[in-house]
C-alpha cells in the first residue's frame, strides 16, 4: 500500500523490539469476540488511477456551475477564486500544519490569522474578530448563546429575513426553547422585529442583505435593541456586499456573524465554509473560538500566539464559551489571501460589479411576462414571484441547462405563500449572455 512505509521485514523487527509475538498481541486489551471477528466486505486497496477513475465518474454525474448559466445563491455564492489562492493554500506548510499550539514553529499560520482577524474586523467595522468558526449558520447560533451570556437575559428574536437554514440551526441549538421567538418569513422585506423587543430580550438577529435579497435598516434595529438593553446580532451571508454597503459596526451592531465562503472559497456543495465572527472589545471574553494576538519573543522580536484561551474547551472544559476546537483555518487562509489580493481597490470594484450584474438581472427579469421582482433594494440577490410553482419551474430550467436559483419552498416547505418564489443571485461571473438565456427560457416556460 503506497502510503504505508513499513516492509514486512521491518514490522517483524519492530515486533521483536517490543517483545510481542505478533500484531494481535498488541490488541490484547480488546475483548476477543470484538477483534477481527468479521469480514468487512469492502474492496481491497486500489492504485491511484483506478481511484481517480471512480471519483471522476461520480463527479461527471453532477452539473457544475461552469457548465451553464448559473443564478443559485441563497447563502453560498459562485465567485471567481484567483489561481494564486488555490496554489498557495496547497503549499505543504499551510495545508499540512496543525492548530498553531507551538507558536515558535507556527508563526506563518499565526501571522496569517492576525491578518485575517484584522481584515474581518475592518470589513465588519467591529473592534475584534476571531480566528473563524465553522460557517455562518453555526456562527449565528454561537452568537445567540453569546448574547445570552452577555446580557443574562434569555429572549431571542429572529427576523423573518434570516436564512431559513440559519434559523433552523438556531432552533436546533436552542432546542425550541420557549424564549426563542421566530418571526414569519418576510419575502417582501417587510419587518416587525422592532415590535418584539422588550426588557427580557437578549438579542435580535437581523440579516442584511436578507435571505430574499432586501437590504435591512441596521441602524434602526440597533437603536431599538439598545433602547431596551438588548443586543443586535447582524448576519451577513454574502460578504462581498460589505464592499458597497456600510459596515454593521458603524451602524451599531454588537455582534456580526458572516459566511465568508464568497471570498477565496469554492461552492463545494455546502462545505467547508468559513464562519466570521466579530464583536466589541468589551465582549471578547464571551466570544467563542480561537483568537490570535501579538506579543514578543524572548529576544524582543514581534511574534504571534493564540491567546485568551481560558475561554476555550481545552482549558475551561464545561465552563467554556463553546465546545468548538477545530475551526475553518484553511478557509480563513484562502479568504485572507484573496482579500489581500483584492485590497480595498479590488474589493470595492468586485462589489460594484456584482451589484451592476444583479441590477441588469433585475431589469431583465422585470421584463419577463409573468415575473414580478419583489425587491426595491438588493445587493446581488433578489426574489421573484412567477405564475407557476417554483420547484417544477426551476427543475425544467435545469433540464435546459440553466440553474435558475433556489425555490423558496425548498427551504420553507410548509409555507403556502412562498410556493411561487425563487431567489436568484448574480455575481461577477454572471454574463449578459447568461441573463439573456435565463430570461428567454423563463419566458418560454411561463408562456
Amino acid at each position: 500500500m503506497r502510503y504505508l512505509p513499513h516492509s514486512d521485514h521491518e514490522r517483524a523487527e519492530m515486533l521483536g523490539v517490543i517483545g510481542a509475538a505478533n500484531i494481535d498481541a498488541l490488541f490484547s486489551a480488546v475483548p476477543a469476540r470484538a477483534l477481527k471477528s468479521f469480514d468487512l466486505g469492502l474492496p481491497a486497496h486500489s492504485p491511484e488511477f483506478l481511484v481517480e477513475a471512480h471519483m471522476r465518474a461520480l463527479a461527471a454525474k453532477n452539473h457544475a456551475g461552469a457548465d451553464g448559466p448559473f443564478f443559485v445563491g441563497a447563502g453560498a455564492y459562485r465567485h471567481h477564486v484567483p489561481a494564486t489562492v488555490d496554489h498557495l493554500i496547497q503549499r505543504s506548510e499551510w495545508l499540512t500544519a496543525y492548530t498553531p499550539y507551538q507558536p515558535e514553529i507556527s508563526q506563518g499560520t499565526l501571522q496569517m490569522l492576525f491578518e485575517f482577524q484584522t481584515q474581518a474586523a475592518k470589513l465588519t467595522g467591529m473592534d475584534v474578530a476571531n480566528a473563524s468558526l465553522y460557517d455562518g449558520s453555526t456562527g449565528t447560533a454561537e452568537a445567540v448563546l453569546m448574547a445570552r451570556r452577555l446580557t443574562r437575559r434569555n429572549k431571542i428574536v429572529l427576523s423573518g429575513g434570516l436564512h431559513p437554514h440559519y434559523r433552523d440551526v438556531v432552533r436546533a441549538y436552542l432546542k425550541d426553547d420557549a424564549d426563542l421567538q421566530i418571526l414569519s418569513a418576510s419575502p417582501e422585506g417587510q419587518g416587525d422585529i422592532l415590535d418584539h423587543i422588550d426588557e427580557t430580550t437578549a438579542a435580535i438577529v437581523v440579516q442584511t442583505p436578507d435571505f430574499y435579497g432586501h437590504l435591512r435598516n441596521i441602524k434602526t434595529a440597533a437603536d431599538a435593541a439598545h433602547a431596551k438593553g438588548a443586543l443586535l446580532i447582524v448576519v451577513i451571508t454574502e460578504v462581498v456586499s460589505l464592499g458597497l454597503l456600510e459596515a454593521p459596526g458603524a451602524l451599531g451592531a454588537d455582534i456580526v456573524v458572516a459566511e465568508g465562503q464568497s471570498i477565496g472559497n469554492a461552492l463545494n456543495f455546502g462545505g467547508p465554509y468559513l464562519g466570521l465572527m466579530a464583536t466589541r472589545k468589551e465582549f471578547i471574553r464571551q466570544m467563542p473560538g480561537r483568537l490570535c494576538g501579538e506579543t514578543v519573543d524572548a529576544d524582543g522580536q514581534r511574534g504571534f500566539v493564540l491567546t485568551l484561551s481560558t475561554r476555550e474547551q481545552h482549558i475551561r472544559r464545561e465552563k467554556a464559551t463553546s465546545n468548538i476546537c477545530t475551526n475553518s483555518g484553511l478557509c480563513a487562509l484562502a479568504f485572507s489571501i484573496h482579500m489581500g489580493l483584492l485590497g480595498e481597490a479590488g474589493f470595492t470594484r468586485l462589489a460594484r460589479l456584482n451589484h451592476a450584474q444583479a441590477s441588469k438581472l433585475a431589469d431583465a427579469l422585470a421584463g419577463v411576462p409573468g415575473v414580478e421582482v419583489l425587491n426595491k433594494t438588493f445587493f446581488n440577490e433578489m426574489t421573484i414571484s412567477t405564475a407557476q410553482p417554483a420547484v417544477a419551474l426551476v427543475e425544467r430550467l435545469a433540464q435546459r441547462g440553466i440553474l435558475a436559483g433556489v425555490p423558496v419552498s425548498r427551504l420553507e416547505p410548509t409555507d403556502p405563500s412562498v410556493v411561487n418564489l425563487i431567489v436568484l443571485a448574480a455575481t461577477e461571473l454572471t454574463t449578459d449572455a447568461d441573463i439573456a438565456a435565463l430570461t428567454t427560457a423563463l419566458a418560454e416556460e411561463l408562456a
Binding site: R285, T307, S309, T310, I315, R316, K319
Partner: protein, 121 residues
C-alpha cells in the same frame, strides 16, 4: 486582626465584621503569571464555598470560593488593569474582594497560620 485560610488556598483577613479575601502566596506561585481576574459585583450574596471570583493564568482558570458566607462590599478594581498584582503582592495589593461576614462562627472552621503552613509543606 486575624488571617484565616481555606484548604483551597484562599485567605480571609478579618477586620471587624469585614473579611478581605485573596489567594495565598503558595497559590500565586503555583498558578504562575495571572493575566485576568474576574471579580464579583458589589452586593452579591455568597454562601460559604460559593464560586466568587476567577483567576486566570495563560493556560488555566481557577475559581475562588467564598471562605465564609456574606455580602460583597467592595472589590479591588485595580486588578482589572493590573492582574499581576496578585503575583507581586497577593496578601496586600492583590486582594480581591471584601465581604461582610454573615456568620463569624464560620471562621472557626478555617485554618490558622500553622494549619495552613502544615497543609502546604
Amino acid at each position: 486582626m486575624t488571617t484565616k485560610f481555606t484548604p483551597d488556598h484562599e485567605y480571609i483577613r478579618v477586620e471587624g465584621a469585614t473579611g478581605i479575601v485573596g489567594i495565598t502566596q503558595f497559590a500565586q506561585e503555583a498558578l504562575g503569571d495571572i493575566v485576568f481576574v474576574e471579580l464579583p459585583s458589589v452586593g452579591k450574596v455568597f454562601k460559604k464555598g460559593d464560586e466568587a471570583a476567577v483567576v486566570e493564568s495563560v493556560k488555566a482558570a481557577s475559581e475562588i470560593y467564598a471562605p465564609v458566607s456574606g455580602t460583597v462590599t467592595e472589590v479591588n478594581d485595580t486588578l482589572t488593569g493590573e492582574p499581576g498584582l496578585v503575583n507581586q503582592d497577593p496578601a496586600a495589593a492583590g486582594w480581591m474582594f471584601k465581604i461582610a461576614i454573615a456568620d463569624a462562627s464560620e471562621l472557626d472552621g478555617l485554618l490558622d497560620d500553622a494549619g495552613y503552613a502544615e497543609l502546604t509543606k
